[in-house]
């Protein structure tokens, strides 16, 4: 109880410095449950409070984080033609990934939590934990080389306009993490689409790209810190001046599919590579087993709705079969079951679509909502030449309609019950 005593000692006075107290309270409740008593009204207390729910989602994401860290480094060295084996030079890959991912993670939280804290202090209520999940999701759906200021801007937009304007955690209409990404996508399209953004960091005349002949850029952390450390440990180090090998494009499977056929995709990436995820893409969305682990964890703890996930799978399969049957372009002819492992379908459906705030909340509504996400997402992926991937936009699209779905499901239920009541009354009389 030493920690509790210590925390009690440093607790700032609520009246004198409300901002500090809010800050303190936010971190205090991570470790302990508060002993404040509720005044007035009826309250139900449950051990599974908002904070626990959020932390469970963050836990479910951990494997994605580990693999994402590794994969940033792995893709970097694959582009250089060095250490192409899966476990080869794993220390370099993890170190490289950490250098890329950590600033993204830290800035996301600084900006997002900063706004959240400020609002909490201003409104005079406890810090809402909603940003924990958004903050854990946002780094995973960004390209590894995103400029930090763009990231900060997008997070600020999403938290401010998407959440605080609506009244804070649990009241937003659109998914915060996706709103941050969609902001980057439309405001700074060159940083998040195309073949060159998914592999990190190569400069060609000052422009980030991974085309053949570009030079790998290393900063102080690589050469000054990690190289010294690895040398001391007797391991391989980062080599300056390495260039991207000839014939390397950095294109993602979907980028290839949009231009060619399934054969063109498999010429570069085999389905098992797409399954295990050691290919270029957003940081966290690649490794399908890690995502399935997260999905099982979320379903087992009852946090995410399996109805939405299953609905989305059915919707995507339905649309995939329709497109297979239609077959007007090469892209449509890609076998429907491969659509699941290309791109970010699983990540989006498991972690984004099931967000309980923005999804439909009635049981029947969840089926409809999930199904339409799968259906619309594949339409956008395959039929819309403007966007390489569809799930981000499909989920935002369905977020808009989720309240409408709920409304009509409820209305339908009410009419049915009213009819039943009328039937009972007429037989009774």
């Amino acid at each position: 109880m030493a920690l509790l005593d210590f925390l009690k000692k440093i607790e700032p006075d609520k009246k004198k410095s409300p901002f500090l107290h809010t800050l303190f309270d936010g971190f205090f409740t991570f470790a302990f449950s508060p002993n404040a008593t509720t005044k007035g009204g009826v309250h139900i207390r449950d051990g599974m409070d908002l904070k626990r729910t959020m932390v469970h989602v963050v836990l479910a994401l951990q494997l994605c984080y580990v693999f994402g860290t590794y994969n940033i480094g792995h893709q970097h060295f694959v582009a250089l033609g060095m250490h192409t084996g899966f476990v080869e030079a794993i220390h370099l890959k993890l170190a490289y990934g950490l250098i890329q991912l950590l600033p993204i993670f830290v800035v996301t939280h600084l900006v997002g939590l900063g706004i959240e804290f400020w609002y909490a202090a201003k409104k005079g209520h406890a810090i809402e934990e909603g940003f924990l999940v958004s903050g854990a999701l946002i780094p995973l759906i960004m390209p590894p080389d995103i400029p930090i200021w763009i990231l900060a801007l997008s997070v600020a937009f999403a938290v401010w306009i998407g959440k605080e304007a609506f009244g804070g955690t649990g009241m937003n209409i659109l998914n915060i993490a996706l709103l941050a990404r969609v902001f980057v996508f439309f405001a700074y399209p060159t940083t998040i689409s195309g073949d060159h953004v998914w592999v990190s960091t190569f400069m060609d005349e000052g422009v980030v790209k991974a085309a053949a002949g570009s030079v790998a850029e290393y900063g102080w952390w690589h050469t000054g810190f990690f190289n010294g450390l690895f040398e001391w440990m007797g391991l391989d180090t980062f080599r300056a001046g390495a260039t991207v090998v000839d014939g390397y494009t950095g294109a993602t499977p979907l980028g290839l599919a949009a231009k060619g056929s399934w054969a063109d995709v498999t010429a570069v990436y085999s389905p098992s590579q797409m399954w295990w995820g050691a290919i270029p893409g957003s940081i966290g969305e690649m490794c399908k087993p890690a995502i399935i682990f997260g999905a099982v964890f979320l379903i087992a703890t009852g946090i995410a709705s399996w109805r939405i996930m299953l609905g989305a799978v059915i919707g995507c399969a339905t649309m995939g079969l329709i497109l297979n049957g239609w077959g007007a372009t090469e892209f449509m002819l890609i076998p429907w079951y491969y659509q699941f492992i290309m791109g970010s379908f699983m990540f989006a459906v498991v972690f984004m679509a099931t967000d309980p705030v923005t999804a439909a909340s009635t049981t029947r509504g969840k089926w409809i909502y999930g199904f339409l996400i799968g259906f619309v997402g594949l339409i956008i992926r395959v039929l819309n030449p403007a966007y390489p991937e569809g799930w981000m936009l499909a989920i935002l699209f369905m977020n808009v309609f989720a309240p409408l779905i709920d409304h009509y499901v409820l209305e339908g239920n009410m009419t049915r019950r009213a009819k039943r009541l009328a039937a009972i009354k007429s037989t009774a009389s």
């Binding site: 009241m171 209409i173 007007a328 699209f397 808009v400």
Partner: protein, 203 residues
Amino acid sequence: MGEFINTFIRAAFVENLVLAYFLGMCSYLAVSKTVKTAFGLGLAVIFVLFVTMPINWLINEYLLSENGVFGVDLVFLRLILFIAVIASMVQLVEMVVEKFSPALYNSLGIFLPLITVNCAILGGSLFMVAREYNFTESVAFGLGGGFGWFLAIIAIAAIREKIKYSNVPPALRGLGMAFILTGLMGIAFMSLMGIDPAAFSGS
């Protein structure tokens, strides 16, 4: 049939009148407080667009153009005639609604006759002229544009019903929130922008 479906999908989803062109905003923002009234107004807009678009097409083609019955270029009368057609259709809708659903008539209030000056409707007719649609396409455009408008207004109405219980900052309550919502919905609807249904129909 192919071109009918293409134009319908384009008008309803890809180039939604509200969320891509931001037309018809006044009634969209004012009548979207509950799903029920929004539904009524949405249906009225579908009907008016669906009826006026082909009529306006015929007027434009056979009365106003040089190849029409008068043989003179009368396009300067286009706006007036289009508005006249729209106004008479709205009058009709108003009478029907008043007769069969007085409750809806009362809840729509001034916004039912104001459909006349709803820019989505005149805008739709003018788009039809500018894009040189043929008769089938203009019918499809009327139906699709109306359906898109209907979808947008019931969606925002459902959201507004939901955020009634949210702790929205006082300064943003009501219209402020509706504007932010419209912008966010516009982002969501950008998902379908760029799809060209005609490119896949094989024709």
